[in-house]
């Protein structure tokens, strides 16, 4: 028996004007296996949906084509109507007769609209049912790192009831927290104390991740502590492995010494209770090698202010640009200037030389347009942000990209900055970009929300076997495993002999790259199979 296909044509509240709906209806009714055509306006609104539902039931329609707006807008709404009528939500297709037909052309577009409907009907005829199923997920979270974002997110995970393991490479927690606590009036010890007391948080120090297998909701992580290796299971992994700083005086052919020091050394000198000889004049230099100078700017401004307040030295800052895009930094910059710190902006690299045990800096100030020569007792060289040393090894291990500077790449800089291309693996804080404290806090909140949404229901609803490997056809060439951008394909052994590729419903994001590349054509992508795509092509120009 032929499947009954119902076509619903909607004029989108009268916004489609250049289609002759009655003529279209007549033509569509003649398409084979289309049992009924229904005209409507506002199909997506309450009344339209109710009518659609009752019509599907009355006429025993099995598959539905809606010709209306773009599927980007309303596809999910109509799928719900289908499911409400007891049909498989997958048996649905939309013909975009509004955005890509009526609105895009001048004059009558009835012929094209009918053709678009025909394409959708041709596709829907070949669809196979896709069932939805629930898969349970492991509700434990692994947080890798020991710095502020790691500690803070572990505390929040525990608060929302997710068991968390905090894994730190170093012997103790804290990371760079101690360095910044003064600026943000944080209390390092109380935060670490809170983590240690929390019963929901397990702390593993001097421990490293050496292997990650599995997929979202069910990761198996190999952890090495000393000579011992253990396997643990987690539902999601959050990396907060941070950044490292590198003093880069080689940009100026400088050598660190008594007169030329790093920011870190200066911070130590400022924290010390007494100093041998207070420098009368101090120069800072930064933003030569790297465009991303958010954190160096912050460090420079903070140190310059402390210098002024504590030692009363003359302070000069040589820079290309003062980046004040973090919260409160504009104010800090103004305050620093009010304290008498001089900013000199250059385009070309300043020349730096030694003179009578002091440092001579010659630069062309672009604002004054003149050459400036200054001699300082102390020059503080810039620090560059570099990824933590294990970043490269981890990215290879996880099969996740890094950006041009070696930091982890965001999945989408605007929409999903803390996600990665692998579901269930997140990156927060300094390991993905140079983030100031406020931005790191935002990262912590986003990751907590992301993981909560993922793990708290305890199960995930997925479309079962939408992309499926035909075990008979699979020749175990591993091509699909190599190309899958989401690491969703693994080898499984069947009947104790042949090994075949298997696609995880959880990790698959439905791109179809594997289906296109498979040399044996063993992978079928339901909804976008070769036959279904070709069927659409066949409908073009047939009338």
């Amino acid at each position: 028996m032929e499947t009954k296909i119902g076509v619903f044509i909607c004029n989108c509240g009268g916004s489609i004007k250049n289609i002759n709906f009655d003529a279209a209806r007549e033509k569509v009714a003649k398409i084979p296996s289309v049992t009924c055509v229904n005209l409507s306006s506002n199909l997506c609104l309450g009344e339209g949906k109710e009518k659609m539902l009752s019509y599907i039931k009355e006429e025993n329609i099995e598959r539905v084509v809606v010709a209306a707006c773009s599927p980007e807008l309303k596809e999910h709404i109509f799928r719900q109507v289908l499911e409400g009528a007891g049909l498989n939500g997958h048996f649905f297709s939309m013909a975009n007769i509004r955005e890509q037909c009526s609105w895009a052309h001048e004059g009558d577009v009835t012929v094209k609209a009918v053709e678009l409907i025909k394409m959708a009907v041709n596709r829907i005829r070949l669809l196979q049912p896709v069932e939805k199923k629930e898969l349970s997920v492991n509700k434990e979270v692994l947080v890798v790192g020991g710095g502020f974002p790691a500690i803070s997110s572990a505390l929040q995970f525990s608060r929302i009831g997710l068991r968390t393991t905090l894994l730190e490479k170093k012997p103790n927690l804290g990371g760079k927290l101690r360095e910044i606590e003064g600026f943000y009036s944080l209390e390092t010890s109380s935060m670490i104390g809170a983590v240690e007391e929390d019963e929901n948080i397990e702390i593993l120090t001097s421990t490293e991740v050496v292997g990650v297998e599995g997929k979202i909701g069910d990761f198996t992580v190999r952890i090495r502590k000393g000579a011992e290796e253990i396997l643990r299971n987690f539902g999601a992994i959050v990396f907060a492995t941070g950044y490292e700083t590198e003093v880069s005086p080689q940009d100026f052919q400088l050598k660190l010494g008594i007169n030329i020091i790093s920011q870190e050394r200066l911070a130590q000198m400022l924290q010390a209770s007494s100093v041998e000889r207070k420098p009368e004049s101090v120069g800072f230099i930064y933003d030569v090698s790297d465009e991303n100078s958010r954190l160096p700017t912050l460090a420079t401004l903070n140190n310059a202010l402390t210098l002024k307040e504590r030692w009363g030295s003359e302070v000069y800052v040589f820079c290309k640009n003062v980046k004040v895009d973090s919260e409160g930094v504009e104010k800090l910059y103004r305050e620093v200037r009010e304290h008498g710190v001089m900013f000199l902006k250059f385009d070309e690299k300043p020349r730096i030389s030694a003179e009578d045990g002091r440092v001579k800096i010659e630069a062309k100030d672009i604002l004054l347009g003149e050459d400036v020569t200054l001699t300082c007792d102390l020059l503080v060289a810039e620090e560059k942000l570099v990824p933590a040393e294990e970043t490269e090894a981890l990215s290879t291990l996880l099969n996740i990209r890094t950006d041009s500077r070696g930091f982890y790449q965001d999945e989408n800089v605007h929409l999903y900055p803390v996600s990665s291309e692998r579901g269930g693996i997140f990156f927060i804080g300094g390991c993905r970009s140079d983030l100031d404290f406020q931005r790191a806090l935002v990262d912590v909140s986003s990751v907590v929300m992301g993981v909560y949404k993922l793990l708290s229901p305890g199960k995930i609803l997925v479309e079962a076997e939408r992309v499926k490997v035909d075990r008979q056809k699979c020749r175990t060439c591993l091509t699909c495993i190599r190309v899958c951008p989401h690491s969703a394909i693994q080898l499984v052994r069947v009947d104790n002999e042949k090994e075949v590729a298997e696609i995880s419903d959880l990790a698959c994001d439905g791109c179809g790259i594997c289906a296109a590349i498979c040399p044996a054509k063993a992978i079928n992508f339901e909804g976008y199979s070769d036959e279904q795509i070709v069927a659409q092509i066949e409908a073009i120009g047939a009338s």
Binding site: Q100, A104, M119, P485, C511, I513, F525, V534, I537, G541
Partner: protein, 130 residues
């Protein structure tokens, strides 16, 4: 079909761009037929060749911008396959039917129109050359 352009549009970039072109009423010729795919990387040479077999005047594969593909490598793989099918077409002597892969962002309806106009121009040129 003999004058239609078949465009395989990635649902993350080119399809919304085409929608936006409609929303902004940027009119373009009626000979475009869009097939929505989850990623440009889904498109194989067979789909492009089938479209020509059915008489398409040109085939377009439209994916995300370089380095911004939602599925990381989909757009680069699509580019390779378009190149490969171009080679196959040349081998069988169909060299007057243009096929192209272009990258565009979902908020670039004007680029979408530009690509389309260029394709229509190429179709016209190859017809005149014949």
């Amino acid at each position: 079909m003999n004058k239609e352009i078949v465009a395989f549009c990635c649902e993350h970039s080119a399809y919304p761009a085409a929608d936006l072109a409609g929303k902004q009423r940027l009119c373009y010729p009626q000979n475009l037929r869009i097939i929505r795919v989850p990623c440009a990387g889904r498109i194989d040479a067979i789909h492009i060749l089938k479209a020509f077999e059915k008489g398409a005047a040109a085939v377009l594969v439209l994916g995300c911008e370089d380095g911004a593909c939602h599925h990381i490598t989909g757009n680069t793989r699509a580019k390779e396959r378009v190149k490969y099918s171009e080679m196959l077409l040349k081998e069988v002597g169909i060299d007057n039917r243009p096929v192209g892969m272009f990258n565009l962002a979902p908020n670039e309806p004007h680029k979408f129109i530009r690509v389309l106009n260029e394709m229509n121009k190429r179709i016209k040129e190859s017809r005149e050359a014949k």
